[in-house]
């Protein structure tokens, strides 16, 4: 009714009535309005935090970016000597990509195996306790993984994996080096172990959400147990599994403490990952290892490393979204 009366009003009239409406609503806030305002505020916080982080990182890295320009991204120098400073992030970007690559190429298959076992093979009496155990692994602080990697896994890997590989296949560049166990391979391995709990428990949930009718469809045309998993379960849940893998990759890229403890902490051109068996450095471990002594331009370089890491994480997410949209949704049609 009121709308009919308002219709012939001129523009100013509409505006004033809107204003009245707004002040009326402000003075008579219902529970629903409160809820709307609150949820809007909380939604904005996420945007504000991202924006603030970006601003702080950009401002902090202005000195180093001003001095080296694009060379900060493509260079591989590391010199803190006053007057001869040189900072390039290329080795650490590559180090991050290599360790994350090792992490997902080992971690994802293992996680999928765990998830398939838990969701499809294990009886309930095994599934429930084992699932909880796997999820518990996600709660172990990363410094503990780092410690365990440093004291237990690293010597073992050096002795039983790296030594045979270097002596047998040392002529291949990526297996070149001295096997002491604190290197890029170790960094990647510790990351692989650390992403397993998250990736496997999410994949398990996604697989368990697949309707029984899909499994029955596969069984009814004579599929074996593995074929049922492949045809009825994995293909149905593949977008969810892909999401879990990206989450794992995100964790691997940003994980700091454990990697810092086992990666060897190389700097400058020595940190360029030419072999799996040389000490390396990731963007995150660089910041964690260097921030204590850093000041002036070196501090700015570390903030710049943070900016690059921020950008890399963003890029991975955008790429993942693109993949989900392009490969899964469009080609396969109606997935979920």
């Amino acid at each position: 009714m009121s709308r009919m009366e308002e219709a012939p009003l001129d523009h100013a009239g509409v505006q004033s009535s809107r204003l009245q409406n707004f002040s009326y609503r402000l003075s008579h806030l219902s529970g629903d309005d409160m809820f709307e305002v609150l949820s809007n505020v909380f939604a904005c916080t996420a945007v504000v935090i991202i924006a603030l982080t970006g601003i702080v990182l950009v401002r902090g890295s202005i000195p180093v970016l001003g001095k080296f320009g694009l060379g900060f991204l493509t260079g591989s120098g590391w010199s803190t000597t006053f007057g001869q400073e040189s900072y390039g992030m290329l080795p650490y970007v590559l180090g991050t990509l290599v360790t994350s690559g090792i992490a997902i190429s080992i971690g994802i298959p293992v996680s999928l195996g765990i998830a398939i076992f838990l969701a499809e093979m294990a009886p309930t009496s095994v599934r429930v306790p084992l699932s909880q155990l796997v999820e518990l692994l996600a709660a172990v602080p990363s410094v503990i993984y780092g410690f365990w990697g440093l004291l237990v896994l690293s010597p073992w890997i050096a002795k039983y994996v790296e030594t045979p590989l270097t002596s047998g296949l040392g002529s291949i560049p990526i297996f070149h080096g001295s096997p002491h166990g604190l290197d890029l391979l170790m960094g990647g391995l510790i990351l692989a172990i650390m992403i397993i709990p998250t990736v496997s428990s999410i994949s398990k949930e996604v697989m368990m959400a697949v309707p029984t009718s899909q499994r029955e469809a596969a069984y009814s045309i004579g599929a074996t147990r593995w074929e049922v998993v492949r045809m009825g379960v994995l293909s149905y849940s593949r977008s969810g599994i892909f999401g879990a893998a990206i989450l794992g990759l995100g964790r691997a890229v940003g994980e700091t403490m454990a990697v810092t403890m086992v990666i060897g902490g190389a700097l400058g051109s020595e940190a360029v990952p030419t072999s799996l068996f040389i000490p390396g450095q990731t963007l995150a471990s660089l910041i964690a290892g260097q921030f204590k002594e850093a000041e002036s331009l070196q501090l700015s370089a570390l903030v710049g490393a943070g900016l690059v890491l921020f950008g890399l994480a963003l890029l991975i997410n955008v790429f993942a979204q693109f993949m989900v949209w392009k490969v899964l949704k469009v080609k396969a049609g109606a997935v979920e």
């Binding site: 899909q214 069984y219 009814s220 004579g222 049609g333 979920e336």
Partner: protein, 273 residues
């Protein structure tokens, strides 16, 4: 003399009728089934004739779905489910030791209550899925099998231009016929249908019923339905199940017009169920 003639003729007659009657494709002997401690099928012995449609009717929870799921060993896939007794398909017990349930399910196909095409696969791949499991890789063989299965399922004309579209993009009735085509592609001998129309509208239902009538020329069809009119329309034989027991089994026309058991009559006239 007349007596002798009669005696000569009688056994001959008897044996031919017996032969006709005994073309059983699949039969159960003292079949019991449980879900955990719940005894859902009690001592079912039923003989299902070849190239006929047999309907299984009865109120909800009477065990009719369980019964047909025992015929292709799908029942045992449910955690806690078990069964005893024999199910004989062409003279051999499918529950005998050493029988691979996978081969049983390739001979005894199944269509479910809700259409369940593989959503990530195209129409073509949905139909070809079973053949690919069997190791068929040759494209011409696959093409032919997909076309003939879709034709048998009365779906070819509707989808022949959209074979690359996802199976889930079809309408509900088309999806169900796609599932029938998927089952037919592996060339089963028996086709089990578990309330195949319960999720469909009347038009789609009519189409499936028409399809069932044409399918029984080449397959033995067993259909579970809660719709008595549907049983009367499509089936040649009807079994009435109540509380896990086989109450009555016989020719559909006879059972519907002149039920032998009081329970059957009360169910058919809608006094319970």
């Amino acid at each position: 003399m007349t007596v002798g003639l009669l005696e000569q003729v009688k056994p001959e007659n008897k044996s031919t009728t017996l032969q006709q009657m005994e073309r059983y494709k699949i039969l159960t002997e003292n079949l019991h089934a449980w879900f955990g401690s719940n005894h859902v099928l009690k001592d079912i012995s039923i003989k299902i004739r070849e190239n006929e449609a047999t309907a299984i009717i009865g109120p909800s929870g009477c065990g009719k779905s369980t019964l047909i799921r025992c015929l292709n060993r799908m029942h045992e896939l449910v955690p806690g489910a078990r069964s005893t007794g024999r199910v004989v398909l062409d003279d051999s017990n499918i529950y005998a030791k050493g029988v691979d349930p996978v081969t049983v399910r390739r001979r005894v196909g199944m269509v479910f209550q809700k259409p369940n095409p593989f959503p990530t696969m195209s129409v073509y791949d949905n139909v070809a899925a079973g053949l690919k499991l069997n190791g068929v890789r040759d494209n011409t063989t696959l093409d032919q099998a997909v076309e003939s299965s879709l034709e048998r399922a009365f779906l070819w004309d509707e989808v022949k231009a959209d074979l690359d579209k996802p199976g889930s993009s079809l309408s509900g009735g088309q999806q169900q016929r796609l599932c029938i085509a998927r089952a037919l592609a592996v060339k089963p001998e028996v086709l089990l249908m578990d309330e195949p129309c319960s999720a469909l509208d009347p038009v789609a239902t009519a189409k499936i019923e028409e399809l069932i009538v044409s399918l029984k020329e080449s397959y033995t069809v067993v259909i579970v339905t809660h719709n008595m009119q549907q049983a009367a329309r499509v089936s040649d034989f009807t079994a009435f199940l109540y509380l896990g027991q086989l109450i009555e089994y016989g020719e559909t026309t006879g059972l519907f017009e002149n039920p032998g058991e009081e329970l059957t009559e009360r169910y058919l006239t809608g006094k319970f169920g």
